[in-house]
Symmetry: C2
Subunit: 233 residues, 2 copies
DNA sequence: AATTTTTGATTGAGCGCTCAAAATAACTTT
DNA sequence: AAAGTTATTTTGAGCGCTCAATCAAAAATT
């Protein structure tokens, strides 16, 4: 059917916010100067909003349509099924995540340690550590095994992230150890990613008593105390 | 339908399997020497089987009843709602987990490092790292934020685990550092738990290319290389 | 006038849950 | 022990409801 739903996304600005309790306006006067892609992005954003607010189990075509201020029919028109819509939403979620850490990486200058710290720090920005945002990740991850499409999307983005992180860590070993050490770099990436994943999980499961700031400082401390020493001969 | 029911729980032995297309057998001859608790355990086990196999989204009263070889009505009879059944299943899942790591802890002898290693190792037994078992955790965790009952259950068990682990780590600092250091012990527990949580996540999201054995050796290496040095003055 | 986009009533499947009746077990009386 | 009585457990058809998906018609755009 459809192979490529969408690529990286700079969200469509969400147009008319519907106030659900309001009386039906006679003419919604819908501006549609945008093309199909913009509408798709709007609907995907509405989907993510619904998942963040209601969870996957209580996200229906009706909740998404309500969030977008459009009818259910239009969802099926642009994405052929609810499954396609959810897959597109997960793709957009990963794309946004990639956008964030890549921007941090690009802004970090040439020093590999700075690069690594920038990427780690990006994992704990307010946008990513928002409880609803985390809940969305876990909602999808909870269905990973039963929806292979989700796993494919994750793998695609994860491979890229791992590759870029490995480059950085390879630079780090090259700088500090003299000779580059691929296996050591690979393990460093694994350790960092494992630790930050664990911190996300703690933030998700125990949001009170474990703040974003705590997680961030733990992650940075981990890099300094555990990763950096491993780059030195 | 059912291939291997389960072994560790002492279920009521499941009565005769019903073949739906077959003519009605004259006497199903249901032995019910068990009491209500045994039936409850059987139904909870069937629930976990269904979640492991189908995920939370596709687990219905019908799938659970089918797994148990009983009717849907009996589920509502013993647990008043589907929600109550799922909560009981999550509770049982946590209870089994606690059983496993506590047994490892009790069997580990007096040395605190041995205790710590035993608990960490227990996290990576085949039973716990089975893909379906991991998927079950993540299925429930994906709904945590939208089902406060799940969060309450998790907190109850997690608090106990943290307390016991902290005792062990406190012993460790006492032994290696001379004076006990509560804040350091607390951080050690946090680090270990974060890291093992992250490993579980990697096992769940990337089951091929990341084996149980790999995760176990990474966890043990983490304790030796990161945790142990932190206990020494 | 032709095309694209949107609507919303409708359909049919599947869901949780109810409940009267049946089956079984437990208890009492003979 | 046997029969009769009560209590408990199990069934499964069915109710009301929600859901994803359909589709003919309407609206908006080209």
């Amino acid at each position: 059917m459809t192979k490529k739903e969408d690529e990286k996304q700079e969200y469509a600005e969400v147009p008319p916010k519907k106030h659900p309790e309001q009386e039906p306006e006679p003419r919604p006067r819908r501006e549609r100067k945008g093309n199909a892609d913009m509408r798709r992005r709007q609907l995907v954003a509405a989907t993510l909003d619904s998942v963040a607010k209601n969870g996957l189990a209580r996200t229906t075509l009706a909740t998404v349509a309500g969030e977008a201020g459009l009818s259910q029919g239009v969802l099926v028109f642009y994405f052929k099924s609810k499954g396609g819509l959810l897959a597109a939403a997960l793709h957009a979620k990963y794309a946004r995540y990639q956008e964030i850490w890549q921007a941090a990486l690009d802004a970090a200058g040439p020093d590999p340690l700075n690069k690594l710290l920038a990427v780690v720090e990006a994992d704990f920005t307010p946008e990513l550590c928002d409880p609803e945002a985390l809940a969305t990740w876990f909602a999808f991850w909870g269905e990973h095994r039963f929806t292979p499409q989700y796993a494919e999307i994750a793998e695609e983005f994860d491979a890229n992230r791992m590759a870029r992180l490995t480059e950085v860590c390879l630079d780090l070993t090259r700088q500090n150890g003299g000779a580059e050490d691929a296996s050591r770099a690979a393990q460093m990436v694994l350790w960092i990613d494992t630790f930050t994943d664990g911190l996300w999980q703690k933030l998700h499961l125990n949001p009170q008593g474990f703040t974003r700031e705590t997680a961030l400082s733990l992650a940075l401390e981990f890099v300094h105390d555990v990763i950096v020493p491993r780059t030195e001969r």
